[in-house]
């Protein structure tokens, strides 16, 4: 990590507004974030470069701090860092969510190692709070160097359209490597939303970014109680195609499992073959994880396993029950995946589910094959309850693929034009012996076959029975 210049990291230099009118004034940003009229400053409004306050968000007592980008572009000195650490102490004492509104070029160069030390103390405070109080970052301008790693240590990062996150800025990149790159390409919405996984939520405007921050504070900070009676049944199979071979976008299904309009998706564009979303279910905050067949056929791969693992641990740390919607053909095969560490990164998901203390129910909608079956909150990893829709397949692999391996010699011995017929016969026999939901129920890896039209209420009953406030006792390392 490097320090950056004290000057603002913004490229454009508009005529300087008086601080009271500057939209980067932290007083204005904090006022826009909290419920109207609830902001109470807990730090001096001076030239430290940071301002902190308490207030409410949808009625939830919340602590927030905000870079003061009107002073040295929000660069962080030791006084400003003290403000952030004090805000963390307050959040921990109050057991309140804490939100950082970031717009900072990084550590103050003029302060030298003193500022680096102070930034490190923020990281320490964030890590101590990890898994204890929800932490949300809203990046509204450049967040460079230390200001980049601050948000990265928190549970959820929201990026506004002007947000830019990077360790070293374009000038340093150019002088060191000769690479000519601008801030947008280096650390804007596209790279962080789609490629790096740094950002969970991309916002269209500063107001939208603050609004998404508010929604997440409400979901994490005011989880409420699951009202079984308020969960209406609808036919969820409507959101899947008739053909079992056909891929589909699982977002519709996730949206209809959750209470209407309550879904906040995290990492929408990164690793899109798995969907992770917070929302309400029967009024209670829940997390949903779903394979998305539209992308990569819904296969698990390195990034998607990592994304899901972090989400499971986030939910577990804050006591948020999980609903896992399974339609997975397996792990994505290939050299690229193996070299990308699908074994190491995939193991994170096994570990995350294996340790999770929150109630977590699984629903197999169409199929669950192979190692990916285990990883998607199977019975063996400790699922609270496992449901399957009629006709769901739970197997090591598809029946045809299995008989091609098991009966390789037998199939090779018949004439080529007869092979498909023979394969089908063998597959039907194989399915009778090994596959199908009936067999899965006999073994005890599926508890109940449930009709799509009765699924919501079944999930609600299963979750409500075990929702006693258990949660994992661990931090939420950014996996």
């Amino acid at each position: 990590m490097t320090t950056t210049h004290d000057a603002p990291a913004t490229a454009q230099k508009p005529a300087k507004l008086p601080r009271a009118e500057d939209p980067r004034n932290p007083n204005m940003r904090l006022a826009a974030f909290f419920d109207e009229g609830t902001v109470e400053l807990i730090s001096a409004d001076d030239d430290s470069g940071m301002l902190a306050a308490v207030g409410t968000v949808d009625g939830v007592h919340t602590v927030a701090f905000c870079s003061d980008a009107t002073i040295m572009g929000g660069a962080m000195g030791h006084e400003g860092c003290k403000v952030v650490v004090a805000a963390y102490d307050r959040a921990m004492a109050d057991r309140a969510p804490i939100v950082g509104l970031w717009h900072s070029g990084g550590a103050r160069l003029a302060e030298g190692v003193l500022s680096l030390h102070a930034v490190g103390l923020i990281f320490q405070a964030m890590t101590r709070a990890s898994g204890k109080v929800p932490q949300i970052s809203v990046v509204l301008g450049p967040a460079a160097g230390g200001a980049a790693y601050g948000p990265a240590l928190t549970d959820v990062v929201i990026l506004g359209p002007e947000g830019r996150i990077f360790v070293t800025g374009p000038d340093v990149v150019r002088s060191v490597t000769g690479e000519d790159v601008d801030m947008l390409r280096l650390g804007g919405p596209e790279p962080h939303g789609r490629r790096s996984g740094v950002v969970h939520v991309l916002a269209e405007s500063e107001a939208h970014a603050l609004g998404e921050g508010r929604r997440l504070v409400a979901l994490l900070g005011d989880q409420r109680v699951l009202g079984v009676d308020s969960v209406d049944d609808v036919d969820l199979s409507e959101h899947l195609p008739e053909s079992k071979k056909r891929a589909y976008d699982v977002h519709l299904l996730v949206g209809h499992v959750l209470d209407e309009g309550s879904m906040v998706e995290l990492h929408n564009k990164w690793a899109p073959n798995i969907v992770t979303a917070l929302g309400r279910f029967g009024g209670r905050t829940v997390g949903v994880i779903a394979n998305n067949p539209l992308r990569l056929g819904g296969c698990l791969d390195s990034p998607s396993a990592e994304k899901a693992a972090r989400f499971v641990r986030t939910c577990d740390a804050y006591g948020i029950p999980l609903i896992v919607l399974v339609d997975v053909p397996g792990y994505l095969p290939g050299v690229g995946q193996e070299w990308d560490g699908v074994v190491r990164r995939g193991a994170k998901l096994l570990h995350a589910f294996g340790e999770a203390q929150v109630p977590r129910v699984t629903l197999v909608t169409r199929k669950a094959y192979g190692g990916a079956y285990i990883a998607m909150n199977s019975r063996s990893l400790g699922a609270t309850r496992v449901f399957a829709w009629p006709g769901a397949e739970i197997a090591v692999m598809g029946a045809i693929a299995a008989v091609r391996i098991l009966h390789r010699r037998k199939i090779a011995a018949v004439a080529e034009d007869l092979r498909p017929t023979v394969e089908l016969e063998l597959a039907a026999e194989h399915e009778k012996i090994t596959g199908g939901v009936d067999k899965a129920m006999q073994i005890g890896v599926v508890d109940e076959v449930v009709q799509p039209s009765l699924t919501r209420s079944a999930l609600a009953v299963a979750l409500a029975q075990v929702d006693t406030g258990s949660r994992g006792q661990h931090g939420n390392i950014p996996l």
């Binding site: 053909s243 539209l294 056929g297 819904g298």
Partner: protein, 73 residues
């Protein structure tokens, strides 16, 4: 601006749906791939006009291969 749509995984090209010159909207299907024993539609992410389709039915594509090029509006 040309918007490239690339294959995300190794697959057979089952069906080419969009042709050069076609108008497309986000989520319109350009090509249907077959992989992992599934039919996986490749969709447009932007609205625009299809400038080029890089595959034919029966082709095998690998990760990163060009599926189509869209002149975005």
């Amino acid at each position: 601006m040309g918007h490239h749509v690339n294959a995300e995984l190794v697959a057979n090209v089952l069906k080419v749906v969009a042709q050069p010159g076609d108008r497309v909207e986000p989520e319109d299907t350009l090509v249907i791939l077959e992989s992992m024993k599934m039919e996986i539609p490749v969709q447009a992410e932007v609205a625009g006009t299809v400038a080029e389709v890089g595959v034919s039915e029966g082709d095998v594509v690998t990760e990163g291969d060009l599926i189509a090029d869209i002149d975005a509006d």
